[in-house]
Amino acid sequence: MKNSKNNYSAAQRWYNIKRRFLYQVKKQKRVLINIIKTPQGIVGTFIIAGLILCALAGPWITPQDPFKIVIANRFAPPSFKYLLGTDFLGRDILSRIIISTRVVVPISLSVIAIIIIVGMTSGMVAGYYSNTIVEKIIIWMFDSINTFPGIILVLTLAAIVGSSSKIVLILLMSLWRFPGYGRIVRVETLSVKEEVYIKAAQALGVKEKGILFHHIMPNVIAPIIVLAGMDFGVVTMMLAGLSFLGMGVQPPACSLGRMLQEGYVYIHQSSWMLVGPILALSVVMIGCSLFSAGLRIALNPKESFGR
């Protein structure tokens, strides 16, 4: 490691490792065009675009009414009428999956937006004012939050505060995820800070706010964007996990986690109730990791897949 100063604690080393072999990227031009040029990128972009399309056009593209209960058709296997089968109340599983994206996608997107903003600001401030009390306090905060087992932290807070409101869910997820971003940005900032153009800006008397947001931010944002592409999947999984335990999005809104939970309960009656949501979750997860792989290559053309 170049800078042994960032190596002293296990938690920081964990993020250094993450950063080193996943996010060694630099700012590039025409990133979006370059993503589509890579095979991973185009599949990932396609899946994420499909997801967002489902969220936007949800009620108009479902093949059946997702809330219509037809007891006669319960536990139906896949057919042309019900492409992924029906659940224990005879509701169409595919339609329910499509309609569930309407809840999940806005929440995940807001979480990602919040953690990028908060994580980047706190990381930049900690990195820029290194060796001051400000840095110590911010790192202490990161350490304290990171020491919690992430899943349990979110679950407990969701149970205590109550997860009926989406804003609470969004804030909880952001609280859980942002220290990782902060740590990576801090280390990036520490190395960017030593560059000549920062020294020049300081010598010219540019205000600190200007240096932070105008000169440092564009140079530390690239790794964070790749991480965010991957975290979109992680946050979606966490939301599903919360609903699986009955602490996420509340019924009647449908969510993948709730469908998984129902499938788990009726696992001996019908396996189709599990197959649909599992497929959907896997597609989202794979889409996100392919998208961030493509993003990584687009931001650093020297790398190839998996390296």
């Binding site: 042994s4 100063k5 190596n7 002293y8 604690s9 296990a10 938690a11 080393r13 964990w14 490792i17 080193r20 072999f21 202490w140 905060m141 350490d143 304290s144 939050i145 020491t147 919690f148 087992p149 992430g150 899943i151 349990i152 932290l153 679950l155 407990t156 807070l157 149970a159 205590i160 505060v161 109550g162 999947g233 999984m237 996990g241 699986f244 335990l245 602490m247 998984l260 499938g263 788990y264 696992i267 001996h268 396996s271 599990l274 197959v275 599992i278 979750l281 896997s282 997860m285 794979i286 996100c288 990791s289 792989a293 897949f305 998996g306």
Partner: protein, 313 residues
């Protein structure tokens, strides 16, 4: 070395203080009156007054925090409001099952992951390397509860090879191990991928460094270079990830414990939350955090032992 450990310990004490402040603050996040929420339907004026007095909810905040802190120092991690039993013995009873699950899962991941990683770094850019890379990339993005449901569906429900629920017969080690296979595999899948990639990356980096090239020039066989010189340098990253990963699994196994209906720390906390025993959940989280912090300091000491540069700082 002693100075380094002392420094780490002081920092950890501060971190633990921060954790306890967050845990203590959680109770204030309960919307409404905590006593009413915890008593739920059984609330009446006498029981409410009793609970408020017993939990010290009528005291000012600083005194309550002092009491909480003092209690934790003396091994009092809170009580179940309904039964007035202490939380700690209950947690210690289920702790071995979680430790066993996390250790077994991490063991599988290390054995498979490190082996595949060394082989992939050794046979770089061959077909084997490419297959392993694709598989591990897929494995990393696997979520544990989805993996658990897939395994449960295939191996327990459809094929009926493994038991689907429970922890096995008491005292029967073979049966308990048999019950451990599916949950541990579900937990291990993503870690196998992660460790494989990590070993391959760090080994590849070390193998292309100058001192390894020098050793090659001296004519030392490649395999003995890997085991004698390269692995030790690649080990630092692996020890960090494995150690912290094990710590993460202690609390992160909650979905697995619920899906396979096993006893465990995570499940105890969730059950406490379901029955609104917030003080019990608070104690459970603190136990996990203390274990995690213990793992972190052990990892730090091992890494400082492997790589003297860390402790010289």
């Amino acid at each position: 070395m002693g100075k380094y450990i002392a420094k780490r310990l002081v920092l950890l004490i501060f971190t633990l203080m921060g954790v306890m402040i967050i845990l203590f603050g959680m109770i204030y996040l309960i919307p409404g009156d905590p006593a009413v929420i915890m008593l739920h339907q059984r609330v009446n004026p006498e029981s409410k007054a009793l609970i408020i007095h017993r939990l010290g909810l009528d005291q000012p905040m600083l005194i309550r925090f002092g009491r909480y802190f003092w209690g934790v120092l003396h091994g009092d991690f809170g009580v179940y409001v309904m039964t007035n039993r202490a939380v700690l013995p209950e947690l210690l009873r289920v702790l071995p099952y979680t430790l066993g699950l996390a250790t077994f899962a991490m063991g599988i991941s290390i054995i498979i992951g490190v082996t595949l990683g060394i082989l992939a770094a050794f046979y770089k850019d061959t077909l084997f390397d490419h297959i392993v890379t694709v598989l591990s990339t897929a494995a990393v993005s696997m979520v544990d509860y989805v993996a658990a449901l897939i395994l449960l569906l295939i191996f327990a429900v459809k094929l009926d090879w493994f038991p689907s629920l429970g922890i096995g017969e008491r005292g029967n080690i073979i049966d308990q191990l048999y019950h451990l296979i599916l949950p541990a595999s579900a937990l291990a899948i993503s870690w196998v991928g992660y460790i494989e990639r990590l070993v391959r990356e760090s080994l590849g980096e070390v193998l292309s460094s100058d001192y390894i090239k020098t050793a090659r020039l001296f004519g030392i066989p490649k395999s003995s270079i890997v085991y004698k010189y390269a692995l030790r340098n690649a080990a630092k990253a692996v020890v960090t990830v494995v150690g912290l990963g094990w710590g993460v699994l202690l609390g992160g196994a909650v979905f697995i414990e619920i899906i396979f209906n096993r006893l465990g720390l995570g499940k105890s906390i969730i059950q406490a939350l379901y029955s609104r025993e917030y003080f019990a959940a608070q104690g459970g989280i603190l136990v996990i955090v203390i274990l995690f912090v213990g793992v972190v300091i052990i990892v730090d000491i091992i890494c400082a032992y492997i790589d003297p540069r860390i402790r010289l700082r």
